[in-house]
């Protein structure tokens, strides 16, 4: 039973903490009035970024600023990765990355995906880790928070969406940085190393020399989790004992994965002044999350199939797990990391029981169970609008969302944003499964090999970044394909909703009456779950059947 302490503890504490944190997010991102400390921070922003960072923007200007900033960040990171042998802080003499890998990595970190086709400790210098990758782990997450804030402002009926640069500045300095510092300090207490020295060399009992990689791990892990980035300092990510040494570090990191995404929903509620609506959304997300965790834990408590028939005393699937965590902690993490588009792992998803493997896959297909920092809420917004449109007609009125009429133009944009996700996953999987690019990269034949390809594209499209592993994905076709998938999967579903909200905000508000379709009731929760499951999941049902389900049933 103690197995299940972790998931229960994590859910209760994180949900509890999300409430005050949501309050703080509003203070940080959209303050009503600034206290003395807060206004000093704002004037620092103005001094640093110039006057342009103070003026309010329309949704078009906001998107333009966001894209400009992201393109700039991408170019800088790409340059760093190609020239890292000449940079300081490179005690182990790492050389530059192969261009397609550098492209994939730069895209991956700009888009908050952190899909890694490399092993950090093998390929990256300290400089690249800290000022290339970690810097982007901050600002890419900040971009997500900024976008969610702008969305909330628009839905509150404001045509001034705020200032993109100012929002990123606020999200980085007031949210991500303090949160990471706190998490990093706690991690150091748990035994995670934080050093600028090069790899340690130890002599083993047999007398051999062993090189043990180390570095500024605690700082890296903290933002990796808090910003739903997921890119590990080490190749094995949080399964590595230096990234995640103890039970409590594991609890802390699992909580850090969820914390900001949960709080963003409350921030949305506060800015729009619709806490009940936010609570319905939160409830739907939580229900999907808790059921996924439950299903995952139960499925992982069964032994792996190759052991099932053998006379060994094994009660759960421990293949690919860290024994210090156990299977329930691994399943909880697997669900959390894929729900939130984090992508860090503390166990190898490749070794999950086949049906358990379906749980993280479907979490990425839906991509709305809390989701990536900021963007999870934005994705859910698309389903909310779809649900409002379909069910809204059933009350005999033109569908309305938060007093604004939802019409053809908005629905066109919603569909474009919703279509991108399955198009990237299904298209990519179909292309690679039917060509030698995919077939030669898979480790296993049949359904499992198919799941590896499917997982990689799902992970890239959902900006998740976790890998099913077992896939030889550091090749030019994989690097370029996943790079493009990540770009489209990030920015189309981010810009289209802002455009929708821009159009909605420009409309006249309809007064709410007894005839208005309400979005703050349990009934709407049911509509929303139905929309997410039927619209979101139906598209992937054939894939699920051919991959994990067929493997599970294969016997």
């Amino acid at each position: 039973m103690s197995e299940y302490f972790l998931p229960v503890f994590v859910v209760i504490v994180t949900v509890g903490l999300s409430w005050p944190l949501g309050r703080y997010l509003v203070y940080a991102m959209d303050p009503v009035s600034c206290g003395p400390i807060r206004s000093r921070y704002e004037s620092a922003c103005a001094a640093f970024l110039g006057h342009a960072a103070k003026t309010g923007q329309s949704w078009q200007q906001y998107c333009r600023s966001m894209l400009t900033f992201n393109i700039l960040m991408f170019v800088v990171l790409y340059a760093i990765l190609l020239t890292q042998q000449w940079h300081p802080l490179n005690p182990d003499g790492k050389t530059s990355l192969e261009p397609s890998l550098a492209f994939c990595t730069a895209v991956s970190f700009t888009t908050n995906t952190n899909l890694q086709h490399y092993s950090g400790e093998v390929s990256m210098s300290y400089f690249s880790q800290l000022f290339g990758l970690m810097w982007l782990q901050f600002v890419s997450a900040a971009t997500g928070i900024a976008a969610a804030t702008a969305l909330s402002r628009g839905l509150a009926g404001r045509t001034d969406f705020g200032n993109c640069f100012q929002d990123i500045w606020r999200a980085t300095g007031l949210i991500l940085l303090p949160l990471s510092i706190i998490t990093a300090c706690l991690l150091v207490l748990c035994g995670v190393p934080m050093t600028m020295e090069g790899a340690a060399v130890a002599t083993t009992l047999e007398g051999d020399a062993q090189t043990i990689a180390r570095g500024p791990v605690a700082a890296f892990v903290a933002i990796k989790q808090a910003g739903t980035n997921g890119g590990g300092y080490f190749g094995p990510n949080s399964a590595h004992p230096f990234e995640n040494p103890t039970f409590w570090s594991n609890v802390l990191e699992t909580m850090a994965i969820l914390q900001l995404s949960m709080a963003t929903v409350w921030m949305f509620g506060r800015i729009t002044g619709r806490m009940k609506h936010a609570a319905v959304i939160f409830g739907v997300m939580l229900l999907l999350y808790v059921s996924s965790v439950g299903i995952g834990c139960v499925l992982e408590s069964a032994p792996t199939r190759s052991l099932a028939s053998l006379p060994v005393a094994s009660s759960m699937n421990l293949e690919g797990k860290e024994l210090r965590f156990g299977s329930a902690a691994a399943a909880t993490w697997a669900v959390s990391t894929t729900s939130t588009s984090n992508g860090s792992v503390n166990a190898m998803h490749d070794s999950l029981n086949p049906l358990t493997g379906l749980v993280p896959l479907s979490a990425m297909w839906l991509n709305v169970i809390f989701g990536g920092v900021g963007v999870g809420l934005i994705n859910m917004f698309l389903f909310v609008i779809t649900g409002v449109f379909l069910a809204g007609m059933m009350v005999g009125r033109t569908p309305e969302y938060l007093t604004r009429k939802v019409e053809a133009k908005e629905m066109k944009l919603v569909l474009i944003a919703l279509l991108v996700h399955p198009a990237l996953i299904l298209g990519g999987t179909a292309l690679f499964a039917s060509t030698s690019w995919g077939a030669s990269a898979t480790q296993d034949p049949g359904s499992h090999g198919f799941s590896e390809i499917l997982y990689e594209f799902s992970s890239a499209a959902a900006n998740n970044g976790s890998g099913f592993e077992g896939l030889g994905d550091n090749t030019v076709p994989w690097n370029i394909a996943t790079g493009l998938v990540m770009l489209l999967g990030r920015f189309v579903p981010m810009i289209a909703p802002l455009a929708i909200v821009g159009k909605l905000a420009a409309k006249r508000a309809t007064p709410e009456t007894a005839g208005t379709f309400r979005t703050d009731t349990g009934l709407f929760g049911i509509v929303l779950i139905g929309t997410v499951l039927i619209i979101g999941a139906l598209q992937f049902l054939p894939m699920a059947v051919l991959g994990p389900v067929a493997e599970q049933l294969g016997g």
Binding site: F389, R397, L426, T429, T510, T513, L538, Q539, V545, L553
Partner: protein, 694 residues
């Protein structure tokens, strides 16, 4: 028809009146063939879902032909799938054709009224000389003479004469109506017939754009553009189609990974089952049927957009008189001043009203007779001089020598007596206030400088109207009463009738300003009107129902015309608008929810050969992979004709709040949409096995 029963039956009117005539053999037979003609790709391209289905059916047919030529063993299976795919498309067209046929029947009866008659155009109005021209050559502004027994050639306004007109060709109402120059009954419609006397009419319609022409075009659906909500839904359905197109096209290469080759007809069968064909097929029929329901309740909408807007309306402006109260006020009480006999007051009141032809005047005469048995007298001998009501004096009455008897509003009488050196006694003032507060209209009677007392004119609120307003409130619709009464009277009637708000002492400008203000607050406003002074407000309102008896100006300004001229109709117009949207939403939900079962029928069937373990997913225990696929396709096709009655009648609408409506429809169409196909596909599979098809 009796007004009271009218109110009660309005809401159900649309639903019940057509139940008997949903399908008749005359409609069905031409529709069967019309549905085939509509298979032309040019017609189909308007509807993306059905267009994709038709392309799929075409492609499957080609593959079938190839299979027959090559003598493949699959030819029978391919052939069956092709047939059912074509049937799917044909069923969709049939639904639209049936809906149109119902409108066409009405259009034909209207068209018989629109004959190209000879009109008598005025050459010289003084001399009454006319020339004969064809009605189709009449231009706006022409003046024509129509004599008894002749049809009125086109729309116009009466500028001279009074006549009784038979409007049954348009309204279906056989009782003739009076049309006269000036006032609110001056509009005449082409296609109606003058029964007695003659009319001189100024033509107001351009050739081919008369009311009758527009009506015919409307009921035939020729002018039917897609409404905004219909466009949005079409986009959503196209989006869903695109998603499933993607699912199916990528499934082919992915199946190759598992060494499975999916044959084209099976893949297309999967595609057509997954895309929302049910709603795609029924969408046009829903819109056409909505318009038809409206025209069956004798309201002509000038655009589908207006019908849809009616569903969104959240403020109804209702004229008090005729809508909330029975048209005419009735005298119900005499309240004599101190020192005056009630009988004397009744006598003077009757004297002043003897030639007053208004309903109020007549009711005073009647009340005096019933209360005190005072009879109407012949007044010629007394040198009686009658003073008719005028808007300036706001009094009417009679002069008998030096006796000046007047009745009128309290202000007018007060002014009248003070000119003669009298004053209005306090007790009369109190009575007047009391009458106002009780929702009545006070009329004060005076003889020379002496005020005799007040008459209580009572407004009779229609029976059942309060419950109706309560229902509207639950639907989220506020009712606002418009009246010319003073605020006190208005407040009392408003309270009695249960309206949410009222506009007292309403002028056309005040009405217009009120509508603008509501719209500025984001409300959608519906109103009815008949007079020319209603025209600006009608033009401003989002849904404006003009009375057919009204003036041409009012009819031009409104976006609907009520042929029955029944102001309460507004409420059923709103219900029909809501019902149309609800039907779309419900059938879309049903259509999308069906996909779950279809997936469970087809996906295991496709892959069972290569991955036999997937047999577990064959939840419905379908006999063979091919019977599974066929059953899904057949279910998908026949669900369309099964739902045609729902599309044409509309889903059941009750005047309740949004929450209960949603709960009800989710249960029936959401949950039903999940469960029904599981049962349906299983039954079809059983039938196929029993009949030996597989």
């Amino acid at each position: 028809m009796n007004q009271q029963t009218r109110i009660g039956s309005d809401l159900q009117h649309a639903a019940t009146s057509q139940r008997s005539s949903l399908f008749t053999a005359q409609m069905l037979a031409p529709s069967l063939w019309q549905a085939v003609r509509m298979l032309s790709p040019r017609t189909m391209a308007r509807n993306p879902v059905m267009f994709v289905s038709e392309l799929g059916a075409g492609l499957t047919s080609l593959v079938t032909v190839a299979a027959i030529i090559s003598g493949s063993a699959d030819k029978f299976y391919f052939f069956t799938i092709s047939v059912w795919l074509w049937l799917t498309v044909w069923f969709g067209n049939f639904a639209e054709a049936v809906a149109e046929a119902r409108g066409r029947a009405q259009a034909n009866s209207l068209r018989s009224a629109r004959k190209d008659v000879t009109a008598h155009r005025m050459v010289d109005r003084e001399q009454r000389t006319t020339e004969d021209v064809l009605a189709s050559l009449l231009r706006q502004g022409d003046e024509i003479l129509v004599s008894a027994g002749e049809p009125i050639p086109t729309d116009g306004e009466v500028i001279e004469g009074v006549a009784s007109v038979d409007e049954s060709a348009i309204t279906g109402e056989s009782a003739p109506v009076i049309r006269e120059s000036g006032g609110d009954r001056s509009a005449v419609t082409g296609g109606t017939r003058v029964l007695s006397d003659f009319l001189v009419i100024r033509v107001t319609a351009k050739p081919g754009e008369s009311f009758l022409d527009r009506m015919i075009a409307m009921v035939e659906g020729a002018e039917r553009g897609k409404t905004p909500n219909e466009i949005a839904l079409t986009i959503v359905l196209a989006g869903f189609t695109l998603v499933f197109l993607m699912v199916c096209t990528t499934l082919y290469p992915i199946a190759r990974y598992f060494d499975v080759t999916i044959d084209v007809p099976t893949l297309i069968a999967l595609l057509v089952c997954l895309i929302p064909t049910t709603i795609g097929a029924l969408l046009p029929a829903i819109g056409i049927a909505g318009m038809a329901r409206l025209s069956q309740s004798n309201v002509m909408a000038m655009s589908g957009r207006a019908v849809e807007a009616a569903g969104d309306v959240d403020i109804l402006l209702l004229d008090k008189t005729g809508t909330i109260t029975l048209g005419n006020r009735q005298a119900s009480e005499f309240r004599a001043a101190e020192g005056v006999e009630e009988r004397e007051l009744a006598d003077r009141a009757q004297l002043s009203s003897l030639t007053d032809e208004t309903a109020e005047g007549r009711s005073i005469v009647v009340l005096a007779k019933t209360r005190f048995n005072i009879r109407g007298r012949e007044m010629e001998h007394a040198h009686a001089e009658f003073v008719p009501f005028s808007a300036r004096t706001r009094m009417s009455g009679v002069n008998l020598g030096d006796r000046q008897i007047r009745k009128g509003s309290v202000d007018a009488i007060s002014q009248f007596v003070s000119q003669q050196g009298g004053t209005l006694p306090q007790c009369v003032r109190n009575d007047v206030d009391a009458i106002s507060r009780a929702g009545g209209t006070p009329l004060v009677v005076a003889e020379n400088s002496r005020v005799l007392g007040a008459i209580f004119l009572k407004d009779i609120v229609k029976g059942g109207i309060k419950e109706r307003f309560g229902e509207l409130r639950q639907m989220g619709i506020r009712t606002v009463m418009i009246t010319g009464d003073n605020p006190k009277t208005a407040a009392a009637i408003a309270a009695e009738a249960g309206v949410d708000d009222f506009l007292a002492e309403a002028t056309p400008e005040a009405k217009l300003a009120l509508i603008r203000q509501y719209q500025h607050e984001g409300h959608l406003v519906a109103m009815t009107g008949d007079g020319t002074n209603d025209a600006p407000a009608l033009a401003q309102a989002d849904v404006a129902v003009a009375m057919n008896t009204g003036t041409q100006a009012a009819r031009e300004a409104g976006n609907m015309v009520d042929l029955d001229s029944n102001p309460t109709k507004l409420i059923s117009v709103v219900s029909i608008g809501k019902q149309m949207l609800m039907t779309r939403g419900a059938l879309t939900t049903f259509s999308v929810a069906n996909d779950v079962a279809k997936y469970f029928a087809i996906i295991p069937a496709i892959f069972m050969a290569a991955l036999p373990q997937l047999a577990v997913l064959n939840l419905m225990n379908l006999a063979t992979p091919r019977s599974a696929i066929l059953s899904a396709v057949i279910f998908n096709a026949i669900v369309i004709p099964c739902l045609i009655p729902v599309a044409i009648r509309g889903v059941k609408y009750q005047p309740v709040g949004a929450d209960s409506l949603l709960r009800q429809n989710l249960l029936v169409y959401g949950l039903g949409g999940l469960v029904v196909p599981f049962a349906g596909i299983r039954l079809i599979d059983l039938a196929l096995v029993t009949l030996g098809f597989v």
